[in-house]
């Protein structure tokens, strides 16, 4: 299969065209051009599906990839080479990612046409949504860090615009600024890392970086006393942390829910936050070389657990989902850190599906009842059956219940983490990674079911309020909430069908290739473990000679050197290697443990919110709840401590030093000394300088002026004549 | 070496006998041939310019349901000769306070600027006086002499109306040169050369190969060019420099007799030239719709007829526009140029560049039919 640019470019270009048309002519189109956006994403989806089909079901070798480059600009002269190539790089991972991004984005667009109907920002929303999607698709297609960084920044801008789309609300503006600024912190480091890589190998293409790693070009280089690979790896990971909202830089993501819910779905599920994980996966060989995987794992574990604890006490549906996103991103980072490459990527995909579905369901609830505070909701199951069904599927998936996708991906990560923490002979302190991971898994099950129970079960408080207080109340969000009748939900291809489609993909066997998930029980002769075969960490040695051949010719390699006939033969984890056996044990133990923990979490939630036999958390541990509600005081820390205490304190100290010490002693003391000197110099001035120096000079200058005044005429032509004369006299004195 | 009419004729056998007639003096023969063709083309264009005044009056009469000139000759077709005779016999008035030198110079410059452009106008593939490789660039450059002449004419007359007309004219011509040049630049980008021969060779064959149909951007470029050309030649609805209701007659208010005739003639010939350029750049020029492998002199005459037909059709549209649209205001004129035409032209240029890169310079038709050379 020969791919031309024409069959790949539309993936990226179709949404861009929709963006341009909507940006300039959107208002003149019917329905502000939202159909155009949906159509463009569908075009991307079709082209992505073709690539996906060829990569997954075609007869390509498993390590086949498409790499097409063109010369962006070339400022080389002589031996100094400075040329920048741009290009497209599609391997199995990118093919899967493309299908996921375009597919989910398509459903989200479709849902948005319903959700944003009659909204004041309808037009603007459908300008940024396709641009956002196209930037993510471009990021996935990029073959180098530079173009990836450009799309990365475009996404940052789009998320800024989407979060702050209700720009008349101050909170939305603040949240968008916060998202923009916080991710900027990471981006600076990412740029630094890119420049560092460019300095050493003169390219930022993935292929070149891989081959440089294999050839050992990074070895022995030192920056600031640490090894070069570590330095660049940390810089790039900091960039990924900013984008994927990892622990210290996570503060922007929960606030990002200020935007419309489909926008949040796109940010949280398919595009923006996964970009950081994507970068970490692409740069995985560098992370390994820099030996910072333990750092990644620890950061991921802290994020996973911390976010899960905060999510337990949130009352806003979207806030719960936002913190659960944080938590799941932490799991992905754990996966990257503990070397569970394909499980981490699988979690990106599975999480994208169920989190998109969750957000869209939340959007459906909010749009139906105009209320997003969970304590005010309840008993919605009767009114929103389809939403309930899809949301329940996703909740089961995210909680890690067997047969659902979350179980497949998350528990592989946890199994690997278990192996990493306890059995691989690492630093025993790293046991914190699996401990926090499993604890977070339990909390996940708890808070997700808490959300479900509070929202869909129990009595319907709104309905009750309806009759109790009559109509016309306004809630804190300005919607006309209580007077709103809850309509019975009907099947509609724009509002529920996207949810149901997404819900279908929360089943585990799409990803695991079998029903149970962890490699047990193969059904229908499905391609067993296709994910595990297709997605593997880049083997850098393979790229050495590929980097040296012209990229245009890479495409014509023999595509059938290793056909994917091994789907059916490779299965399970058992191997001759004793480590494999231990790994298998770890997986089995981990799976069992996580099933138990998940059901425990569900049980506690059930007891707490349906049976009400356990008191809710807030009344049992008020102190901890307050801390959690304050989100561990991170915002407070950043604003009040870091900026107010740190920066303002420094200011106060400097002011004190300025006024108290410097002013009193240095300035006033100098003044006293000056007065003495002044008296002495006054005499000197009057006699020596004034009489002799100044007046004498004046007389002398007057004498000279009589001559020089002629030349300093202030006339440009005179100067010009002088110029010519001087030049002429200079030439005449030359002996040539 | 640039292709000229002489180097075209030199490939035929009768050229050698002609050379023998001149005693082997090739320089003299070249000179004579050039002389003959120059005279023929200038004469033809002057006639077209003269007939232009007649066409203007006749078409306007047609549009306004009148009869128009009908006394001199059949259908009044010799009216322009009568007008010419009238102009020559008129007194040559020189305003007392005019700047004599510039007053005499201005109409000459106008004629020089217009006639100089005829040197590269591609009447046919062979009968082009000089098909230089910077042809279109040269044409744009030399025709800016007209702007100078308009300004000088207005200035030298030392009259308020003339002055205002001259200033308006000069600023209008300078401004509209920009979108016109940029839209022509888009065509040179497609053709890969600035010579009319190169541009014409790219449009050989069916009308689908014409540059106007080459891609969406060149389609827009044609209209940008046409509007800009209307303004550059001071034609309605952009005829502000000679707006009768405001400025009497603009920069040539004080001119009488044949000097006025020069200005009028220059204007009409310039309209013909820009129409010809539009035909050559966008509408396939003098190409036959079929690709013939041989080349004979009568075929060249057919090509001349094709070129003239296209140019005169555009000429008709120009006159038609003049009697259809009302005149613009000065601020509208400038805002059309700077806020609309120039950005559109730049957009077209970029679009054409992207098109050339993306589709290897193939036209829409070639892409659709999957063909291409």
């Amino acid at each position: 299969m020969q791919y031309t640019v024409g069959s790949i470019a539309p993936i990226f270009l179709a949404p861009v065209i929709a963006f341009i048309i909507n940006a300039f002519f959107g208002r003149k189109l019917p329905r502000n051009g939202d159909w155009l956006a949906v159509l463009s994403i569908f075009v991307s989806f079709v082209f992505s599906a073709r690539i996906f089909g060829d990569f997954v079901f075609g007869q390509f070798a498993t390590d086949y990839y498409i790499h097409k480059t063109f010369n962006w600009f070339d400022l080389s002269f002589g031996t100094h080479i400075f040329k920048v190539d741009m290009g497209i790089y599609i391997d199995n991972m990118a093919a899967i990612m493309l299908l996921m991004v375009s597919g989910i984005a398509f459903l989200i667009h479709l849902f948005s046409t319903w959700y944003m109907d009659h909204d004041s920002k309808h037009g603007r929303f459908f300008v940024f949504l396709p641009l956002f999607t196209s930037a993510m698709l471009g990021l996935v297609l990029s073959d180098n860090l530079l173009s990836m960084f450009m799309f990365w920044e475009v996404m940052g801008f789009c998320s800024y615009s989407l979060i702050g789309i209700y720009n008349e609300k101050e909170k939305a503006g603040d949240a968008s600024l916060k998202a923009f600024m916080t991710t900027r912190v990471g981006d600076v480091f990412l740029l630094l890392g890119m420049v560092a890589i460019w300095m050493v190998i003169g390219s930022v293409s993935y292929v070149d970086i891989y081959s440089a790693i294999a050839q050992g070009k990074f070895d022995g280089q030192m920056v600031l006393g640490i090894s070069f690979a570590t330095f660049t790896a940390i810089c790039i990971f900091l960039g990924a942390m900013g984008k994927s909202a990892q622990f210290p830089l996570h503060v922007w993501l929960p606030d990002a829910m200020m935007g419309p819910t489909p926008g949040s779905a796109l940010i949280h599920a398919a595009t923006m936050v996964t970009a950081g994980v994507w970068l970490s996966l692409r740069m995985y060989p560098l992370m390994v070389l820099g030996d910072i995987t333990w750092f990644i794992a620890v950061i991921g574990a802290i994020t996973a657990f911390g976010a899960a604890t905060i999510a337990m006490v949130q009352t806003d549906i979207k806030a719960v989902l936002a913190y659960s996103t944080l938590s799941q991103l932490g799991y992905m980072m754990i996966g990257v850190g503990v070397g569970s490459y394909n499980a981490a990527f699988m979690h990106v995909i599975t999480h994208a599906f169920f989190k998109a579905c969750l957000f869209l369901s939340a959007g459906s609830i909010i749009h139906s009842v105009h209320e997003q505070e969970m304590p005010k909701l309840g008993g919605l199951k009767k009114y929103l059956p389809y939403t309930h069904f899809s949301m329940m599927c996703c909740t089961l998936a995210i909680a890690g219940i067997p047969f659902f996708s979350g179980f497949v991906s998350k528990d592989r990560i946890l199994g690997d983490a278990l192996y990493y923490g306890f059995m691989s002979g690492q630093n025993p302190l790293l046991a914190i990674v699996p401990i926090l991971g499993f604890a977070g898994a339990g909390l996940t099950a708890f808070y997700m079911f808490r959300m479900m129970f509070l929202t869909f079960y129990g009595e319907n408080k709104m309905h009750h309020d309806d009759h109790g207080h009559g109509h016309g109340h306004k809630d804190s969000h300005g919607h006309e909430a209580h007077g709103h009748d809850i309509h019975q939900e009907h099947l509609d291809f724009r509002s529920n069908v996207p949810l149901l489609i997404l819900a279908v993909f929360t089943l585990g066997f799409w990803f695991a290739g079998n029903v149970a998930g962890q490699g047990f029980g193969n059904m229908f002769g499905a391609k067993n473990e296709w994910f595990k075969i297709l997605v593997e960490a880049p083997k850098v040695e393979k790229f050495v000679e590929r980097a040296n051949q012209p990229f245009g010719s890479v495409d014509s390699r023999d595509t059938t050197e290793l056909p994917k006939a091994q789907y059916h033969h490779q299965s399970g984890y058992a191997g001759p290697n004793p480590d494999d056996h231990k790994l298998h044990t770890a997986h089995v133990v981990g799976a069992g443990l996580s099933i138990v923990i998940a059901f425990l979490g569900v049980l506690i939630a059930f007891l707490m919110y349906i049976r009400k036999s356990i008191k809710p958390l807030a009344s049992t541990f008020p102190g901890i709840t307050a801390l959690l509600k304050a989100k561990y005081n991170f915002d407070h820390f950043y604003v009040d401590v870091l900026i107010k205490q740190g920066l303002f304190g420094l200011n106060r100290f400097l002011a004190w030093f300025d006024m108290g010490v410097y002013d009193r002693f240095a300035i006033d003391g100098m003044a006293t000394v000056n007065r003495v000197i002044f008296k002495a110099s006054k005499w000197f001035d009057n006699v020596v300088i004034d009489a002799i120096g100044v007046d004498g000079t004046g007389v002398a200058v007057n004498l000279f002026n009589l001559v020089l005044r002629i030349f300093q005429s202030g006339k440009i032509q005179f100067y010009f004549i002088m110029l010519v004369m001087v030049l002429a006299s200079y030439i005449w004195t030359l002996n040539i | 070496m640039n292709q000229t009419v002489v180097s075209y004729l030199a490939q035929y056998e009768f050229f050698d006998s002609l050379l023998a007639l001149f005693g082997g003096n090739q320089g003299l023969l070249t000179f004579v041939i050039f002389m003959i063709f120059c005279l023929a083309i200038v004469g033809m264009c002057a006639t077209i310019g003269g007939l232009g005044t007649y066409a203007e009056r006749k078409i306007s009469a047609d549009i306004q349901a009148r009869i128009g000139p009908n006394r001199v000759g059949p259908y009044g077709i010799l009216q322009f000769l009568a007008d010419g005779v009238k102009m020559m016999t008129k007194e040559d008035v020189m305003p007392f306070s005019a700047d004599k030198f510039l007053f005499y110079l201005a109409p000459m410059l106008a004629l020089v600027g217009v006639f100089a452009t005829l040197a590269v106008l591609p009447f046919s593939t062979g009968f082009t006086l000089s098909d230089m490789n910077v042809g279109i660039f040269y044409l744009i450059a030399i025709s800016s002499l007209v702007g100078v002449s308009v300004f000088l004419g207005g200035y030298a007359s030392n009259s308020k109306w003339s002055m205002l007309g001259g200033m308006r004219g000069a600023s209008q011509i300078i401004s509209y040169e920009i979108p016109v040049t940029i839209s022509i630049l888009a065509i040179t980008l497609l053709a890969g050369g600035m010579g009319f021969g190169t541009i014409s060779a790219h449009q050989r064959g069916l009308p689908t190969n014409w540059f106007i149909f080459h891609n969406p951007f060149s389609f827009i470029a044609f209209f940008v060019y046409f509007v800009g050309a209307l303004a550059e030649t001071n034609r309605a609805p952009f005829d502000l420099p000679e707006a009768e209701s405001e400025l009497v007659s603009g920069y040539h208010t004080e001119y009488t007799g044949m000097r006025f005739g020069f200005f009028a003639l220059a204007e009409y010939i310039e309209v013909f030239v820009v129409c010809g350029v539009g035909a050559a750049l966008f509408l396939g020029g003098s190409n036959l719709p079929v690709d013939l492998s041989f080349d004979i002199i009568p075929l060249q005459l057919v090509e001349v007829v094709i070129f003239m037909t296209k140019a005169l059709l555009l000429y008709y549209v120009v006159i038609w526009i003049r009697w259809t649209f009302p005149r613009l205001r000065v601020d509208q004129l400038m805002s059309i140029c700077w806020k609309y035409l120039t950005p559109i032209a730049i957009f077209n240029l970029v679009g054409c560049a992207i098109w050339v890169v993306l589709f290897n310079g193939k036209s829409v038709a070639q892409l659709l039919m999957g063909g291409g050379h």
Binding site: S713 | F101, V134, A141, V148, A170
Partner: protein, 177 residues
């Protein structure tokens, strides 16, 4: 033959109009003669085979600079007034008088002598290249040179032009005092 004729015509136009620029009393006429000089130089370029430069010369100068000059002359009047400044070489009218011309002629003679001295020494060492009469098109090669060897100067000149455009617009705009 043709080249010689063109050269003679262009040289005559250049020098004749150049002299006219120098000696005409009327600034407007000077500008028009400058136009003649510039067209003559374009002709000289053409005899040197520099077709692109020649046409660019006409394009920029005739279409732009000369009209700009004419506008400036018209807006500033170009009157022949006497300066009020009392200094060396003061008291000259706007277009110069015999003293200023004498002085400039002196400077010119000095310059010519200097140049001739310089050229005499260089002339013998100039490489004599065989000149062929074919004048190939320079457009393609100039295009390549502009975007390859001289790309920095090319880009900088675009910045320069933009700066000049903005600067001119800002400087010439009347400010409210």
């Amino acid at each position: 033959m043709f080249l010689q004729v063109l050269f003679l015509l262009s040289a005559t136009l250049t020098i004749g109009c150049g002299i006219a620029v120098a000696v005409t009393r009327n600034l407007m006429h000077s500008c028009v003669f400058l136009l003649g000089t510039l067209i003559g130089i374009a002709g000289l370029y053409a005899t040197l085979g520099a077709d692109f430069v020649a046409v660019t010369q006409i394009m920029v100068y005739v279409g732009g600079i000369v009209i700009l000059m004419l506008f400036a002359v018209m807006l500033t009047g170009g009157k022949d007034f006497v300066s009020r400044a009392q200094n060396l070489l003061g008291l000259a009218p706007s277009m110069g008088n015999k003293w200023t011309f004498a002085l400039s002629g002196l400077v010119g003679v000095v310059f010519i002598l200097t140049n001739v001295k310089l050229l005499m020494s260089v002339a013998s060492s100039l490489p004599t290249k065989e000149i062929n009469n074919e004048l190939p098109s320079t457009v393609n090669e100039i295009g390549h040179l502009l975007v390859k060897d001289h790309v920095l100067a090319f880009e900088l000149s675009s910045v320069l032009l933009l700066g000049a455009l903005v600067g001119a617009a800002i400087i010439a705009r009347p400010r409210k005092q």
